[in-house]
Symmetry: C2
Subunit: 371 residues, 2 copies
Amino acid sequence: MTSTVLEPQTRGRTKLAVIDCDIHPALKSPKALHPYLPERWRRYRDTIGERGFSGSYYPRANPNAARTDAWPPSGLPPGSDLDFMRAQLLDAWEMDFGILQPLLGAGALRNHEYAAAMSAAINEWQIAEWLEPEPRLRSGLVVPYEAPELAAAEIDRLGDHPGFVQVMLGIRTSEPLGRRKYWPMLEAAAAHDLPIGMHFGSQGGSPITGVGWPSMYLEDHAGMSTAFQAQVISLVYEGVFEQFPTLRIVLIEGGFAWAPPLAWRLDAAWRKLGDEVPHLQKKPSAYLAEHFWLTTQPMEEPHVPRQFAELLDQAPWLEDKLMFSTDYPHWDFDAPDEALPKTALPDGFAAKLMAENARALYKLPTRVHAG
Amino acid sequence: MTSTVLEPQTRGRTKLAVIDCDIHPALKSPKALHPYLPERWRRYRDTIGERGFSGSYYPRANPNAARTDAWPPSGLPPGSDLDFMRAQLLDAWEMDFGILQPLLGAGALRNHEYAAAMSAAINEWQIAEWLEPEPRLRSGLVVPYEAPELAAAEIDRLGDHPGFVQVMLGIRTSEPLGRRKYWPMLEAAAAHDLPIGMHFGSQGGSPITGVGWPSMYLEDHAGMSTAFQAQVISLVYEGVFEQFPTLRIVLIEGGFAWAPPLAWRLDAAWRKLGDEVPHLQKKPSAYLAEHFWLTTQPMEEPHVPRQFAELLDQAPWLEDKLMFSTDYPHWDFDAPDEALPKTALPDGFAAKLMAENARALYKLPTRVHAG
């Protein structure tokens, strides 16, 4: 391993440092987790397999909903070949760091013991095959989040490993995340100073909207932001941030333009009926502003670019909370050189969005050793 | 009945004409619908009663979630006394018109024949006790919307009555409204040139968010806008407005500040995966801009009033689609003299918002005979 210092002047495609907050590593084969699973669960995976809720799927056009150019020359599935990911993503865009979000469905499996075993196996696989070989990578710790005590145990087991910078959940849980059921997990995350990252997708056992099952993937995709809104509402009103004052939540691939109107709505309802939530010590929007980070992809760019500045005017806290992401290797990849709206932005905002907000949240160094 | 011409110079509290798009009439007593129900359903109402889905309720502090000052001197329930409604609302604010939205739960009853009988009874009650005695009132036609053929029959029966200016649904249907199940009802509404009004509340049989059941009414209230967003997504992507090009949708008490970001999100997903909806002839946000109207209450006023103007900049079509409403006699009443944000607004917008958008949509005259 050689040591390389990245200096801004060496950058080709962008002058700014780049940290990608949403990269999806894939398995090389269905048996790629076997070395990390106990025999009992290897057998289970071969004979029974995954049991969860259904109803939400990525488009089938390519495996893993991948970009058509994301197939490695090795013939391995998109996202599974570290060398190709280095070349196509980390090196090509001269990224300081990339944050992995494995989407292998383990966290929400109905068999909670299997969910715990799969989560642990995925985390060991991440350490051995991604984090140790590539120092620019960090990752989300996969946990069986519908069994919060088991999730807390996994956080206690690996939460202090330097490669894991957050706990990773799907956005659609079985109950809103603010409910007491999940508090043991939230408490463990706060104790290890790990943000909770919630990613686009998953399913909790009920229809994916409050008005029943839609027909199309486009409805699922456009409507995913409503699941993020429901989680914010729950976490804020349930008083989670009074219970765990250092807890931070990262909303990944769920958009962000809905945040200012939601902040107004949270406050308006509370001003009239706040007696239902006497545990809140400040106005609801203050918790949103202080405790939530959001990633950019899929970029919700307004029809007129200058309206992006209006969003920052409406929610100035977004300047310190928006974090760039690509969603590599998925079909709706946002490239670093196209991420910034073509409009006047506050001084320093571009650097914050592209890297510095993530660097501060995840406590990443300013220099990195490239492999 | 005497004839009175309302002239702007006679107005006390506001110089602008006022049309209130969301007034809730109540029953004087549980038996108040009996004169309008066939004997078979009177017996059913007395012995079996209403069967629906549960999980969403108004606060219990006052019956009908009413303002504490909305109790008529007659001792009748809030919203049930026309004389008091005249004095406290129509006369006090010198309203040109008020649009009734009865929230009696009939449309979503599980017994579809009973739902149809109750809908018809409520409509006859509206004609006899509200629309005929008070020419400033118009109303939504209640229909058994989970049985769309029966709903279409009620629209055919009364849709041309001059007192009914829209078809009225709850926002939380059992399936997203764009699904073919509902098309016979949408077709009938379009045939009678009646907008479909969808109002805050109701329940469709599944958890009221896409991530399960929340704990508190505040979560239900703040999160209601996500149900409205899910319905917009469904109606747009399913191609309903290509099928029924004159169909108009009114979103009542669901907010409006979420509309610009949703428009961006609808278009962004469609630009990448539009092949799933080849029936769309224009970009998704164009259908939102053309076919949807929204009422103001509960007013989602930004923390900084000038940001209201940013919303209009982001979605200029809102200038012609936002309609004033009070939600009388409910607890979160918005008064006409407090409805307009204290900021610079486009020329003529105040008049449009307070009355003229509703007058155009509902084809209401410029003068009215007061009783």
